[in-house]
Symmetry: C2
Subunit: 422 residues, 2 copies
Amino acid sequence: MKITQMTALDVRFPMPPGAGSDSLHVDPLYSFATCKLRTDDGLEGTGITFTLGRGNEVVTAAIRAFWPFVRGHDVAELAADLGARWRAWANESQLRWLGPHKGAIHLGLAAVTGAIVDLWARSEGKPLWRLLLDLSPEQLVALADFSTISDVIDEAGALELLRERRLPEAEIAAQLERGYPGYDTSVGWLGYSRDQLVTNALSSVGRGFRAVKLKVGSPDIATDADRVAAVREAVGPEILVMVDANQCWSVPRAIEAGRALASSDVFWFEEPVHPDDVLGYRDVATALAPMRIAGGEHVPNQVVFKNFIRAGAIQVAQPDVVRLGGLPEFLGVALMAAEAGIPVLPHAGETSQIHQHLILFTRCVLGLPELPLETIPHLAEHFVDPVQIVKGRYRPPTVPGIGAALQPDSLARHAATTEVLT
Amino acid sequence: MKITQMTALDVRFPMPPGAGSDSLHVDPLYSFATCKLRTDDGLEGTGITFTLGRGNEVVTAAIRAFWPFVRGHDVAELAADLGARWRAWANESQLRWLGPHKGAIHLGLAAVTGAIVDLWARSEGKPLWRLLLDLSPEQLVALADFSTISDVIDEAGALELLRERRLPEAEIAAQLERGYPGYDTSVGWLGYSRDQLVTNALSSVGRGFRAVKLKVGSPDIATDADRVAAVREAVGPEILVMVDANQCWSVPRAIEAGRALASSDVFWFEEPVHPDDVLGYRDVATALAPMRIAGGEHVPNQVVFKNFIRAGAIQVAQPDVVRLGGLPEFLGVALMAAEAGIPVLPHAGETSQIHQHLILFTRCVLGLPELPLETIPHLAEHFVDPVQIVKGRYRPPTVPGIGAALQPDSLARHAATTEVLT
């Protein structure tokens, strides 16, 4: 089963007014840089990474840059040795200069790796979560790259952790039966009015969700505090309320804002400052403790995550498998977080299609707590197998693969460019 | 003087065998993603960023992504407000998702910003270093973006520093008269034999250089220690000897290597571990003190530099204006380093064309010590005004601009793609 064709697509979807808006990203046009790989026996795998529109063509070019290193390889051979292969791609001697392990080249790697993992899961006839639950601790360890994180966790430590933390099979069965809790970020965009926030939050709770997240970063902190307090009052004390500043504040301003929001019993405070500011996050976390600080959606790789964890800078880790370079690096981050006792709740808005699989892995195999996973429904219609959320809980996907396959009709209508490489 | 045309070029140069090789970058093909901007009255400005070959097309695509934000703007207006304009480009609401402030999109911004600064300097008829020495402290402060570094240095602190540190005019004149000391990295590639290293180092000293740098990261540490010791013995105790691991080691291995190299009186130990590993660098620096740890060539932005400086992770800062997003961010890093008492010695191998200007700024305006600036001569023939090094010292450039203009003949022969946008 050899890979004989790559199709790189720059796909951009129209958005409803105000949707997706936050403090810094005021006019998003949800887009996927998409990698389709085809094998000589006709199997097709799809990987995606997410952007906000402009620049999606740069990431699509990065996808194409990996074609010479994937072309002609056998899917089973890649799957059997994916950790080492991934490390070689991530450190390709010329491409790594563009990062290393960050920016467009790493986003492109995420899409390519996703397509390969999709081929792997489809070739085994399993949804990704099932594939991962069926791997042995030794196979999982071989999937990760410990070369840059061995000062925090190494192969031996990871093996021990994987052997200890897996839930008993009966608990796994019960978890799959009841589904995994979600929360819907689309209720709380910054572009929505205070009244609309309250209406949306109540509607979300009415649909069975037990958590809501609100964007903050209004021109003045009092406005944010008022909006969050209004939602807290409306939903009552039992619902988790999270806030997300999307990187807009300086360290002193984030601390001031966190103090103003604390009376609304905020479950976590997400992306208070610039996503590279490890020690800034730590200062915010120290000043606002016991308020949990969450971050990771813009953390580019496991090395930066290691620094966040070592510094005590985050209390909730939000890795995104399509910003990290794909499954091997997500695994590295999840292992470090589990070792440190930090919950892993992926940034999964537009890619909950993939992360619904990974959360079942972190819950069932790493034994991490059952806290809610994000979803954003704006793109659901474009997927072949959209997420199924019933009464606020994700149903475990049943279709083989990672869940990123897009409707042919959506691709035909929304692909700005399509390039086929053979 | 309005900008009416952008030409984005993917330029890749052939290299001599073994040249440019280090522990991780084994087969570089030196390349520039190049941005040429033309105004309605025929002035042309050139900015470049550097890559190792493959992937240069991704960065060239990133350059093109900025065209809508530059097109039609007046050069004098941009120059008068460059700090704020740059901040807006770096945070463009859709493009920033590709970073923020890192990877291909930030490299692209560096090339575009370079072309604008080149237009500015040419329009004033000054080489960049002269332009910078002529700016008032207030103008320099307006050029930087303090929004993400204000917890370390703010506008007031920067103004005070600029007013205090500038060398007396007589000292500036003497500095310009004697030129600025350099060192030639091309003597010490990892692909060269031990004998060749010794021969090259002696030749370099014979040409007037007072410092040599050697790549390390051989399969075993003893080999590295032997190579470095051989050079130290050959050049004697008066010549500075630096080593550069180019990110290849884990933290424990870097500490072990540093100890093995210490007896050769290493002036600095460059890029011991992964360039994102702030706390890893700190661990290495703590274990090897008083050996100086140098880093920064792969540090993508001023926020990460702030973390390196705050953590005590580097004792020599090596910002690269074409990896940072351009002059405004280089200025932010230089101000933070000067405030912290850390020398600024840019990564300047293939872009010493530009950094020879910036080192005169950090020396004369920020009063930083006269330590040697890197150069690598492999691409000299391709520049319109190649650096002039006499007896190991850079002569101050006299031609207006930033020094990045490439020979038309070189562009004609080596541009893989040329795209003109109007």
